[in-house]
Amino acid sequence: MAEWLDDFLFTYETLIHALGIHGLLALSMYCVMALGQLSLGQAAFMGLGAYTGALLTLKLGLPFWLVLPISALVPALVALIIGGPTLRLSGVYLAIATIALGEVLRVLYINAESLTGGALGLSGIPQKASLGLVYGLLALCIAGFWAIGRSKIGRAMEAMREDEMAAGVMGVNLPLYKLGALVASAMLAGLAGSLAAHSNSFIGPNEYGFETAVTILSFALLGGIGTPIAPVVGAVVLTALPEVLRPLADFRLVINGLIIVLAVLFLPRGIVPFRLRRAP
């Protein structure tokens, strides 16, 4: 292989990793939004996965194949606990409860110093998340969501998104679907968090706050939720964007924000507006 290719890969390694991991996060957002719900807890779940994974690797030295599923299960458990009361209410409440979760966890990471390193975070996490693993999992998830989307479950999900009350009347088990989606999305976010921790080598308590939650939401909103591919495309665009806009320095975030505004106002179905075709 040529040296330039090696340099190219080195230059963009973190970015390529981030694209895959953000793709997974976008899917975790898709998972709740496909039902017309709004969770701002993806960042919190991601953080839980990251801390769980990093601690299991660093303190217990568990093998990575075991670390990954546990990092997905811990956030799933937390999702069950907060999903119970809030899913009975309208969407706004879930959104706010999940924001609160992120803050509570942040305070916890900062104070559980002996375990989490407090404000200094955890460093020296071995880089175990290979590109193959990240993209393999991403492909698997897209395929899985695609299959679900075309099945009866997918139809129920779309019905809920379009008109929740009507879907309920038609016999869709609303609470089950909502809780199931929240738990699945928490698992995905936890997985992504653990992968991120094992590719960045450093995690800190302030990385999973409101801003990260907002970024993850913007992936799905920009891409759209017509197909599982769409949010991933959104993630790719928004992850690459800050790098592309680098020369603009000060005005980069301005443009990033404007893109979100314009996408929502003028592309309500996202930049990938197609819908899944149903199995007959």
Partner: protein
């Protein structure tokens, strides 16, 4: 010491309440988590700062003009961002998203133009003398904050309950379509609500910026999360609830930091928020309508 801590809590709580008033008003009436609200807060503070520095304006001029400017900005921002979505009845999600993108753009633009250094009102802008009473110290600014919070709640309450505009706003909060059918000028009412909330946000920005001497473009962002807690605990759209919940939160935070552990202070708001969602999602007074899913 306890009495001083209670006063500290009252002042802190009043800042939360001041911030939350306009926020809960938008949320309650327009059904939008409007994240640009934090930006109005910063606008109010900066306009007042500019007036004080460039023209030597006193607080009695800078405060109303700063608030007014924030109100006008709110009307413009709301009109540009949300009119279209309101017309198509796009719902909570896209509205939240569009204000999210906008607030990111607006904060960053402000930071790029003004810089991120924190600034303060000129020394002596408001007398820094503190009154001492039975070992309790309160400064003029602090009294101004507590006073303003209570006065604004009273004025807003009277406005909503006893004026024609208030009636229109309440009708809009109840049901937009019905309000329109009843001959209410919905568009004008929306503008009025945006203006009012911007005005309140701006006033809060000036006073809080004055109290903490820390004015910078992102100052609204830091208040936002506590704002969420206050409006849920007080009940969405509930003006008196916002006041009570704000003060309650402030007092509890101060007592936690003073007597338990200052590490736990930040967790207080969110713990109460989670408890509220579990046991009493309608908020303290149970006035707000909670749409059950």
């Amino acid at each position: 010491m306890l009495s001083q801590q209670l006063v500290n809590g009252l002042v802190l709580g009043s800042t939360y309440a001041l911030f939350a008033l306009g926020f809960t008003l938008i949320f309650g009436v327009l059904r939008v988590i409007n994240l640009t609200y934090g930006f109005y807060f910063s606008v109010g503070a900066f306009v007042a700062l500019w007036l004080a520095r460039s023209f030597g304006a006193s607080i009695w001029i800078a405060l109303p003009l700063g608030s007014l400017a924030a109100g006008l900005v709110a009307v413009v921002v709301d009109g540009v961002l949300l009119t279209r979505l309101r017309r198509t009845k796009a719902g909570e999600l896209p509205s939240l998203m569009v204000t999210l993108g906008a607030v990111l753009a607006l904060y960053s633009l402000m930071a790029a133009l003004i810089g991120t250094d924190i600034q303060r009102f000129p020394f002596g802008f408001v007398g820094s003398t503190a009154l001492e009473f039975a070992g309790i110290r309160v400064s003029l600014v602090q009294m101004l904050i507590v006073g303003t919070a209570f006065v604004l709640v009273a004025v807003l309450f009277l406005l909503l309950q006893h004026t024609r505009l208030g009636l229109m706003i309440r009708a809009l909060a109840e049901n937009e379509d019905a309000a329109r059918l009843m001959g209410i000028n919905v568009d004008a009412t929306v503008v009025a609500v945006s203006f009012l909330s911007g005005l309140l946000g701006g006033a809060a920005g000036v006073l809080i910026g004055l109290n903490f001497n820390a004015i910078q473009p992102f100052m609204g962002e830091a208040m936002m999360l506590r704002g969420f807690a206050v409006i849920i605990i007080g009940g969405l759209g509930d003006i008196r609830g916002a006041l009570v919940a704000g003060i309650l939160l402030g007092v509890l935070e101060v007592l936690t930091a003073g007597y338990l552990s200052s590490n736990a202070k930040e967790a207080v708001g969110f713990t109460i928020l989670v408890l509220t969602l579990w046991f009493r999602p309608v908020g303290l007074f149970g006035r707000a309508q909670v749409k059950r899913a």
